[in-house]
Amino acid sequence: MRIPILKLHDCLLVSIQWELDDQTALQFQEDLLHKIHETSANGVVIDITSIDFIDSFIAKVLGDVISMSKLMGAKVVITGIQPAVAITLIELGIGLEDVLTALDLEKGLEKLQQELGD
């Protein structure tokens, strides 16, 4: 299954709705970069409200796709990190320090507009 990537003005919207296996996560990485290239999007919001755990592999794939997007000139905001996910990520030792985050999709879009200097 592929994760749908929607275009909204000059941004891309992604909502991850189910538990990610390795292949889906890696496919998503590639799909997002192609979509950024195709649409000239300069911002991306990835909403993970439905995700109830993140292990080090998924964290690495997410962190990598954020760095890769940045190389292409697009900023990424992650939204909807659940309390249980925040707790386990920190306990696991993964801070995702340089990642832009927001509580929900609405705040994420606001943050992205600010970042893009709108």
């Binding site: 296996d21 390795d22 292990d55 080090s56 592999f57 696991l92």
Partner: protein, 133 residues
């Protein structure tokens, strides 16, 4: 034993199966969402270690009872190359796979009890337990 279920780890799909099994057992035992996430994440890390370093092995999930307490025990076992220096792999930031796997110290922090038994050539056994509060 009726309290134990196992998943063989042969490929990356088995990692998904192992954590789903763990999450279901955690739910049955009445763990809250945060502990469910801790248990699921710990299983995912241990299963991935087996897949990456040993090639194959198994993850067993056991419901345990001690006096009035209930808990969930994860048993991760493989016959892989084993670990040379256990102290070294228990240090934060140590990795031989280039950043995949937050490693065993992370798993230890997520769980209440953590035991590792490994030596070169004889595989690795890890037992980690979470108690219901």
């Amino acid at each position: 034993m009726g309290n134990q279920s196992c998943v063989k780890i042969l490929n990356e799909w088995d990692i998904v199966a192992a954590r789903q099994l763990g999450r279901n057992v955690a739910k049955e035992l009445g763990f809250g969402t945060v502990d469910q996430a801790r248990i699921t994440t710990a299983i995912s890390e241990l299963a991935r270690n087996i897949y990456l370093y040993a090639g194959q092995g198994q993850i067993c999930i056991e419901k345990i009872y001690d006096g009035g307490k209930a808990g969930l025990k994860i048993i991760a076992a493989d016959n892989g190359p084993g670990i040379n220096d256990i102290r070294q792999v228990m240090e934060d930031g140590f990795s031989t796979s280039g950043g995949l796997g937050a490693g065993l110290p992370g798993v230890k922090r997520l769980m209440d009890e953590f035991d590792i038994d490994s030596s070169p050539g004889s595989g690795t056994d890890i037992i980690a337990t979470k108690w219901l509060r």
